[in-house]
């Protein structure tokens, strides 16, 4: 590259033919050219970003609104009514929830099924969390599909109303309660661990120490959101 520039400056372009052998090695470095095969890179980055914004933020907001249930039926119904009647709510749902969630879910399934998990022989903490991230992800696709069908979809077809009673009826069944407990914990784990990988994927936490601190931070996120989620769930029982 450097000799190439000097040649240009001197105007000895004809020398290039004689030196084509040298050129071959250096032409590989014809820098700055954007490769047209970086689709995978952009898709993975988008997958990482959408997991936090908006999906992670939505999950946090959803659990906090649910937490109104601990303050009684009236309080929860007011909050749920407020959320359900936000202006342009259908567009908010499509662009903040449905589209990002569907992209994250389907591309995530592809990612989960292209890994060859090996927690047996390589049972390090990060590898265990790597495996757990994939298992919770696959489980969450099922859980969230069922959860949306049972709540939002029923409201959409006019079969039910999104209020305290709806959730109380669902969670009346002990199997459903167990399913929801596992579902909420899986979602919170997937989000908390996802923050950790987001920080690495975007190059924010680099050193071993920074990544370890991020592990402690995400553990805190997991604990706090789990408490909020569990308190809300048991308020319906």
């Amino acid at each position: 590259m450097s000799y190439y520039c000097i040649m240009m400056v001197c105007g000895f372009r004809c020398f290039r033919n004689i030196l084509s052998a040298l050129d071959a090695a250096n032409q590989c470095f014809e820098g700055g050219k954007i490769l047209d095969n970086n689709r995978e890179f952009l898709m993975r980055r988008l997958h990482s970003l959408l997991g936090i914004i908006p999906i992670g933020l939505f999950l946090t907001q959803h659990l906090i609104v649910n937490h109104f249930a601990t303050q009684g039926v009236e309080s929860f119904n007011t909050a749920s009514h407020f959320m359900a009647n936000l202006p342009f709510v259908i567009f908010l749902e499509i662009f903040v929830i449905y589209l990002p969630l569907m992209y994250h879910a389907f591309y995530g399934l592809y990612i989960a099924f292209t890994s060859k998990n090996n927690p047996g022989h390589y049972s390090y903490l990060r590898n265990m969390l790597f495996v757990a991230q994939r298992y919770t992800g696959v489980f969450l696709v099922v859980f969230i599909a069922w959860h949306v069908f049972e709540t939002r979809f029923q409201v959409a077809i006019g079969a039910d109303e999104a209020d305290f009673n709806m959730m109380a009826n669902i969670l009346d069944n002990p199997f459903m309660l167990a399913f929801y407990i596992v579902g909420v914990l899986a979602a919170v784990f997937h989000f908390a661990n996802g923050i950790w990988s987001f920080l690495v994927t975007w190059g924010i936490t680099q050193s071993e120490a920074a990544q370890k601190n991020a592990t402690y931070f995400t553990l805190l996120v997991f604990i706090v959101l789990s408490i909020i989620g569990m308190r809300a769930l048991f308020a319906f029982v």
Partner: protein, 256 residues
């Protein structure tokens, strides 16, 4: 010493060629003080008789330096990928199970073909182009502290252990693995190599590149040379984030 002669038992996953099915063969060898996996394999080669007393073919394996700097003798020992030259029998649980690193094509027995790693190094342009028509003189100076840090990255011996340990390097994915990625960081840190850093970053933003890393961090736990592979990956993630925005918003400045 008056005791019964101590022996060591090896179980080896063997195959005659790449396409043939594998089979397990057991060997019982006399214990020798301070023996390692390679000296045991040499003993089997000297006297290829299996535990049933039947004569068999000598076990094939790859080796070269015998001091953990060449990367040739990688294999799976008791489930974990590592160098067999530094695998001391005294520190291993018996029977000692030897398997080839099947992430790579198996040539025969424990011999594997690591060509894909060298192809990856070419793909990511892990070299510094300095050829010219005349003496270009000295390159820019590298700060001593940076040299010492970069030396750690340069210890990579392309042994393939990080690829074997990685859950994302498999036949369903074309991920190149940690080793060639870390070499991009090394070459980009070199003052002359940095003159082409964008070309290397764009290369690892391609298919099977940096983005395929799933952060299981088995690579850094398994690397026999203790190279900070996951720090390299995270640092490259930051560099490619900047490169991505540069590409997208169309800056014409290629190199700092």
């Amino acid at each position: 010493m008056g005791e019964a002669a101590k022996t060591v038992i090896f179980e080896i996953e063997r195959r005659n060629s790449t396409d043939e099915d594998s089979y397990w063969e057991k060997f019982e060898l006399p214990y020798v003080m301070n023996m390692n996996v390679i000296s045991a394999l040499m003993e089997i080669r000297r006297n290829p008789v299996n535990i049933e007393g039947k004569k068999t073919t000598p076990v094939n394996w790859d080796m070269n330096c015998l001091e953990e700097v060449c990367g040739a003798c990688s294999m799976i020992i008791n489930g974990k990928a590592r160098q067999s030259c530094t695998a001391l029998v005294d520190q291993l649980e018996q029977p000692i199970r030897l398997q080839p690193m099947k992430t790579f094509p198996v040539v025969r027995d424990l011999v594997i073909d690591r060509s894909r790693m060298f192809d990856s190094l070419k793909k990511v342009k892990a070299w510094v182009p300095i050829d010219g028509t005349h003496d270009l003189g000295d390159g820019p100076r590298m700060p001593e502290r940076k040299r010492q840090w970069a030396y750690e990255l340069s210890k990579c011996m392309t042994c393939g252990v990080c690829l074997e340990a990685c859950p994302n390097v498999n036949d369903k994915s074309d991920f190149i693995g940690a080793a060639p990625l870390s070499q991009v960081r090394l070459m980009n840190a070199h003052p002359t190599g940095a003159m082409n850093r964008d070309a290397r970053l764009n290369a690892i933003m391609g298919e099977g590149g940096l983005a395929s890393c799933g952060n299981s961090q088995n690579c850094v736990e398994s690397c026999p040379k203790g190279i900070p592979l996951t720090t390299s990956i995270a640092a490259l993630n930051r560099d490619t984030t900047v490169q991505m925005f540069r590409n997208f918003f169309g800056s014409d400045r290629m190199v700092d």
